[in-house]
Point group: C2
Chain length 250, copies 2
């Protein structure tokens, strides 16, 4: 069984403040936990039910593994329907972004994105399309929020998420800075080349005034119908697909 | 002020059972409510704060308009942050789908989609790309769920959402039936033509066994990276964009 302080220690990680204090975040579900075990992330503790143990790979000696019952798992889980496994994973220290890193591929840059589900879906989609880094403004939602982690469906294990002053980043970018706006050039006519930053704005306000002047290529997903805008994760996906398509020469 | 029974009558509409019983659903926010006022949907009642009244167009005489205070609005709202306006709108009776309707455009067909946010985002995206109907299996989440309505960002006012036996629909389809699968032909090489059904599967299980045999064109969004799958709203968007692109001759 878990003591009350132990339960509190885990559930406190649902709040950003305590995640930063302890340097840990929560990953749930055998599939996602397995992806983190196979990644460069450092898994610290795994809580699992007897039943769910069979769905996990062999757990290395240096990782604390604790068998608990369904009730205890329910208490520490951030999910409505807990999935039998919950791991505490160390928040990584990524190497600072350099010009060399940025020159190697495309990178998504998110300007104050607020919805954890949107960020998670963007990370998952970026992983599908072969990107390896997502760069967030300091005002963006936390990538280690349980809802974000869940929405990445394990892709966070393969992605670096950076938090930085993106106005400074785009102002000194060594690569083209594409921006998703409502009145730019059609995405289908845009020559993306093989590297660049792709900036996506906040859900309500789009790309902010500190970043907008540094967009070198204003790009729009042409509208055929009537919706006023697209969801930001949808826009991100349409850009990712276009980048992959151009690189693939399709 | 609103009486307790009045408050209960509105909040009960957060549940599908009572939505069907009363034939009403909830729309919140001045922008969305305005879109419904301008649509063919029948708005029955509008609750609004004094402050929010200015954001609404002139309300026709036949629509009940009730000014309430912030506290009362908080009590009837399904949102964490109520937006000053809440309308009760009649669930429409759409004309049954006919072959002629299906021959006029592309239609998304959703096989047991479960997440209300996903369905809402799909409706919003379909509206952006000029589709006018989304067809859901009977086991799909309700389009009039407040979370779905919210995620459509007003696009539901312009879209018909049908619920029908989709296995029967695809079995007798007068147009090609495209299906999003993981092992089909690349979407970029697929000739969609100018009409057809595009089937998207359940979040966890994809397209079900009753529908799969009737897919005439198995289509895949090529994966470059490592994620195991794409979110269903993302897949839907990539298909919608491709259809719009082909029709536009881009």
């Amino acid at each position: 069984m878990l003591s009350k302080p132990q339960i509190r220690a885990v559930t406190s990680l649902q709040q950003k403040k305590f995640r930063r204090e302890h340097g840990l975040f929560i990953v749930e579900g055998a599939k996602s936990v397995t992806e983190f075990l196979r990644s460069d992330y450092r898994v610290q503790t795994i809580y699992h039910t007897a039943q769910a143990a069979a769905k996990l790979p062999k757990i290395p000696q240096n990782i604390k593994s604790v068998e608990i019952d369904e009730q205890a798992l329910q208490r520490i889980s951030a999910l409505k329907t807990p999935q039998g496994v919950l791991a505490l994973v160390a928040i990584p220290d990524h190497l600072p972004l350099t010009g060399d890193m940025l020159r190697k591929n495309f990178h998504l840059v998110l300007d104050d994105i607020q919805d954890p589900g949107n960020l998670g879906t963007i990370i998952r989609t970026a992983d599908w399309f072969g990107l390896t880094r997502v760069i967030c403004s300091m005002g963006s939602v936390d990538a280690y929020n349980p809802k974000t982690v869940q929405a990445t469906m394990g892709s966070l294990a393969r992605m670096e998420v950076h938090y930085t002053d993106i106005a400074k980043l785009v102002a000194h970018s060594p690569v083209p800075v594409f921006g998703a706006v409502l009145d730019g050039n059609p995405i289908y006519d845009t020559d993306f080349g093989v590297r660049g930053l792709v900036v996506l704005g906040n859900e309500g306000n789009g790309i902010g005034p500190a970043v907008l002047p540094h967009i070198t290529h204003r790009v729009t997903i042409p509208r055929v119908g009537h919706a006023e805008s697209l969801n930001v994760a949808i826009s991100a996906a349409l850009f990712c697909a276009e980048l992959a398509r151009e690189k693939g020469g399709a």
